[in-house]
């Protein structure tokens, strides 16, 4: 029982960490408290198992810690999704390894649940690892970010799941050949993770990263059962729940069910995409004409008192955050009220856009989430959309049968004037043409946001 009490004390520290994350003012302190408790838990465990004098133990810890610091230090903010993805994978595989190594300690006649949880932890850990690595490679651009569907009907995944379940049960009761079960489970879980992550495309990444985050916690929690450590069980559960909450928020923000995301039902058919492309080339003249209306922009900006800026992932790809900050500063100097509206899935992981904007020094109290900012568009003189497409597409309300139908959007079209600074007029990730572009009150400026945003700043 005493182990449970000690675990509970550490859990209080981690709960305090999360509690302090409710405000950006206290979050930094919270993170450091969490880190301190983690350090204390590590030291406590080393002492409890008499490892203080174990040089090789320290060596491995220091190597891992040093690698962690270097990785954490060099990663860029835009790479945060793949960083978190990769770390999820490391956590997952570490849990799997602990489960395998731990199972060798089981004496013959060990409780059935030790074998069961070791096999489960192994499976979840391995699938978290392969899934996370594929997701991270997609985000980093090492492999194509497009959904790849190896298993059109989803049957293969179901069969793999079934086989895995049978193997887990067999490994629980026929423990004599546990190594065989381990090898088979590793193979099946690895394949499952790869198929799952390959199916998911770019803009759905927030869901997958959240889900894998949850899995890495679940793996740690189940490993906790296998090595009978309540702290692993508890902390793993908290992480698992956190990942699930974020997964749900992301799914809701895209109006997609989790199963739809995981089965890669993301884009409209290719033929429709081709249609859109021809449409683009036909309307180049029109685009050019709209561009020349640049003189109007200065006038609109001068007359606008209330401005909302809506950034999307395109802004981040163009590395235009700093330019957006210049624009905001310039407008505020001119006495305008500037707010920034952020869609929950702007970026490649939950909250990604907030971090990218904070990086260039934009005050977080100017950042508003979708539910808060949406009622304000009506009373706004000017909305500037920078590199966002699907999340401002009014078709989401009307175009039944398209992937974005029913997805909550930022209702930018309600403001008096809208300036759109997107790369081109091609549809966004969903493949659905953006009806915003052709609206009366909308001016479009096509091109790289790093170049187009400064032209607005000049007009200001």
């Amino acid at each position: 029982m005493s182990v449970i009490i000690i675990a509970a004390i550490f859990i209080v520290g981690f709960i305090l960490q999360i509690r302090l994350m409710q405000s950006p003012k206290t979050a930094l302190l919270g993170n450091r408290i969490g880190a301190a408790f983690m350090g204390a838990a590590i030291i406590y465990t080393i002492i409890a198992y008499g490892g203080m004098g174990n040089a090789s133990l320290w060596l491995w810890l220091v190597i891992g810690g040093f690698a962690g610091v270097s990785l954490g230090h060099v990663v860029k903010m835009i790479q945060m999704p793949q960083m978190v993805g990769m770390l999820n994978g490391f956590g997952g595989v570490a849990s799997a390894l602990v489960a395998i190594a731990g199972s060798s300690l089981f004496v013959s006649g060990a409780s059935w649940y030790l074998w069961l949880t070791a096999s489960l932890a192994l499976s979840v850990g391995v699938l978290t690892f392969t899934g996370s690595m594929v997701a991270a490679m997609k985000l980093q651009g090492i492999i194509s970010g497009k959904p790849v569907n190896l298993d059109e009907s989803g049957k293969l995944q179901q069969i793999l799941l079934l086989i895995a379940a049978v193997l887990v049960l067999l490994s629980t009761f026929i423990t004599g050949i546990y190594t065989v079960w381990v090898i088979l489970l590793i193979i099946i879980a690895a394949v499952y993770g790869v198929i799952m992550a390959l199916r998911v495309g770019g803009a759905d990444m927030p869901v997958v990263i959240s889900l894998l985050n949850s899995f890495s916690g679940v793996a740690a929690s189940i490993t906790g059962f296998a090595v009978e450590d309540p702290l692993l069980v508890g902390v793993g559960a908290v992480v698992g729940v956190s990942g699930l909450i974020l997964t749900r928020i992301m799914c809701r923000a895209m109006n997609r069910s989790l199963s739809a995301v995981l089965t890669g039902m993301t884009t409209v058919s290719n033929s429709k995409k081709a249609e859109n492309l021809t449409h683009v080339s036909n309307s180049l003249e029109e685009v050019h004409e709209k561009k020349t209306r640049g003189t109007d922009i200065g006038k609109i900006i001068n007359l606008s008192k209330k401005v909302i800026i809506v950034p999307g992932y395109g802004m981040a790809v163009a590395q235009a955050q700093g330019k957006v900050k210049d624009l905001i500063d310039c407008m505020e100097k001119a006495g305008k009220q500037v707010k920034i509206g952020i869609h929950p899935v702007a970026g490649r992981m939950p909250g990604h856009m907030n971090v990218l904007l904070a990086e260039v020094g934009i005050d977080y109290d100017k950042l508003y989430d979708m539910d808060t900012i949406n009622p304000e568009f009506e009373n706004t003189d000017l909305t500037i959309v920078i590199g966002a497409c699907d999340v401002v597409n009014p078709s989401a309300n009307t175009a039944e049968g398209t992937p974005i139908y029913g997805m909550p959007i930022l209702e930018v079209e309600k403001s008096k004037n809208v300036i759109v600074c997107n790369l081109d007029e091609k549809p966004g990730y969903s493949g659905v043409e953006n009806t915003l572009y052709s609206m009366e009150n909308v001016i479009t400026i096509w091109g790289n946001a790093s170049e187009t945003v400064p032209t607005i700043t000049e007009a200001c």
Partner: protein
């Protein structure tokens, strides 16, 4: 032991659910990388196994787990710290 662990699991899950739900979307990325660091708690399991067993293969497996889990823990807390410092500096500027 199994029973105690299950109770503990449920208690932590419920507590976690209540407290995580109130983290604003502004901080969801640092929340996630912070939770990510916590999932490296499995390093405790690795320490326990590594320090108890002498066999070569087990040492190798748990040694690898030690390194990977430490990358997870340290890297996770480190990037979270970097991100939160950015939010923190905008607090400071405002107070000036």
């Amino acid at each position: 032991m199994l029973f105690a662990l299950i109770i503990f699991l449920v208690a932590c899950a419920i507590l976690g659910y209540r407290i995580i739900s109130s983290v604003p979307s502004l901080l969801h990325t640092p929340l996630m990388s912070g939770m990510n660091a916590l999932s490296g708690i499995t390093v405790l399991g690795a320490i326990a196994v590594f320090a108890t067993v002498d066999s070569g293969i087990v040492q190798f497996l748990s040694g690898a787990a030690l390194v990977l889990a430490m990358i997870n823990v340290v890297g996770g807390f480190w990037v979270t710290d970097r991100m939160l410092k950015m939010f923190d500096s905008s607090v400071r500027r405002k107070n000036k």
